[in-house]
Symmetry: C2
Subunit: 249 residues, 2 copies
DNA sequence: CGACGCCTTGATCAACTTCAAATTTTGTGG
DNA sequence: CCACAAAATTTGAAGTTGATCAAGGCGTCG
């Protein structure tokens, strides 16, 4: 007995082998492509793995490739002349990485964890966008989602206290790792994709403050710090409360 | 002798009268439409004027219309349960207002100044998006621009000092009112579309701090406060410096 | 083991907020 | 056009939050 997916893959035997079990084809943008388009894309595909901290694209340089994130977390950062830094976005698999219709990068992209990418030359994506309205639609919708997230984060950066910021960050990670986490209120363990310095750059704080607020949340019993990269949350409901008012109760 | 524009308008005599001299057709999204599509859109168009402070769309309510901004400035805001507020975007004519592919508003939209809108029922825009890839492209590109701006602003919110924030705000307004202002370095007078309380909500500060930083910039000779809503900048270059380091020199 | 990177904790300090009040601007009706 | 009330802005003094500076602990990898 074949599952629907298997039948589909047999039927579309011209789907590149590397794409056949790729998450980007199911949840990501490649799902918008016909087998022929996928085959075309597959011809110009490069899969690469990057160590943590590796720069994937530098600010103010020409855009040469676009990518799908196969696994890992990518941070998008802005840097000021004097070294101040702000993370302006986190991207998770199977997000599309890159800014269509631009010549130059306006942010730099860096691997926050070990990252695997499936990359394509700029012209290939441009051609596919022109030929596949469904692909463009997928990209458009991801951009709208990113804009929603950026605006949500602006509220966090502009108006929340340090403690609320840290709680908001934990919630953000929880919801990306496990989209259902939003609703459930039970116990969850969150693997943090960022080190303290990155969390600070994401929250507009210093490392010291992030650390202090984390111990503060621990002492209040909202979280348990299993290890520096792993946090257990007793009740997401309480964490949510901490992200909006801090005062608890 | 006819200009090219006049010839075009005569040729396309089925272009709705209200659209013929509309900025949205030249710089905005309506430029993507054929005369027939424009005629269809024109049938379902409502032009309305709103006083300053009027709410145009409330958070957590169903989306019923989309609009083009004909004139004025619209602020997009997020509100926390305890009343803290953050402006997460400013939109200027001839921006498109509204979030495609969503059922509900995730921000509220409010007129910052007197605003004139050209509004369309939700289904009309949805139908046009399906039928006009050029329209979808325009919307996609505006969204990408907004995302770029949101990320730029995240750096401002997270990492800049109060003084740098105020200077950044003045630059932002200057560049939207007069796109060429970016390059020129001469004297410019900026009409502020927001009152102090709104500026504070945009910058993640308090009214008092905004006011103090403005007088600080005045005493440093970077700006001249003509009236509370009108600021003259001697050198945009110096203002730019103030937006990135504060220390001047 | 020892060095290095990362994280935490403590003490002090500066920036921004809060609270309070004065001053200016704006809008309205006579 | 003026007078007056309401709203917006500015200014001052005191209080908090988070930053900075400094030191120490933990874990990992050679």
């Amino acid at each position: 007995m074949l599952t629907e997916k298997q039948r589909l893959d047999i039927h579309n035997s011209d789907v590149p082998v590397v794409c056949q079990s790729c998450e980007a084809r199911h949840k990501g943008i490649c799902g918008a492509l016909s087998p022929e388009q996928l085959a075309f894309l597959g011809k110009h595909t490069t899969r690469t793995s990057f160590d943590r901290e590796r720069e994937l694209a530098a600010n103010d340089t020409d855009i040469e490739t676009y990518s799908n994130i196969l696994s890992g977390v990518v941070k998008l950062t802005k840097l000021m002349a004097d070294g101040r830094q702000q993370i302006v976005g986190l991207q998770f698999a199977p997000d599309f990485l890159g800014r269509p219709f631009a010549e130059q990068n306006v942010v730099s992209a860096e691997a926050a964890t070990q990252v695997r990418l499936c990359s394509f030359p700029k012209w290939v994506i441009e051609e596919i966008i022109e030929r596949s309205p469904r692909m463009e639609r997928k990209l458009y919708q991801q951009t709208l989602r990113e804009l929603d997230e950026a605006r949500e984060w602006m509220l966090t950066l502009g108006r929340k206290t340090a403690c609320e910021k840290v709680a908001s960050f934990l919630l953000l990670v929880a919801s990306h790792v496990d989209p259902e986490a939003q609703t459930q209120s039970g116990m969850v363990t969150i693997e943090l994709p960022l080190k303290r310095a990155d969390i600070a750059d994401f929250l507009g704080l210093t490392v010291e403050t992030v650390s202090r607020q984390l111990t503060h949340l621990r002492k209040r019993g909202v979280v348990e710090v299993v290890s520096s990269r792993s946090i257990t949350v007793g009740s997401l409901y309480r964490l949510q409360a901490a992200a909006e008012s801090g005062s608890d109760k």
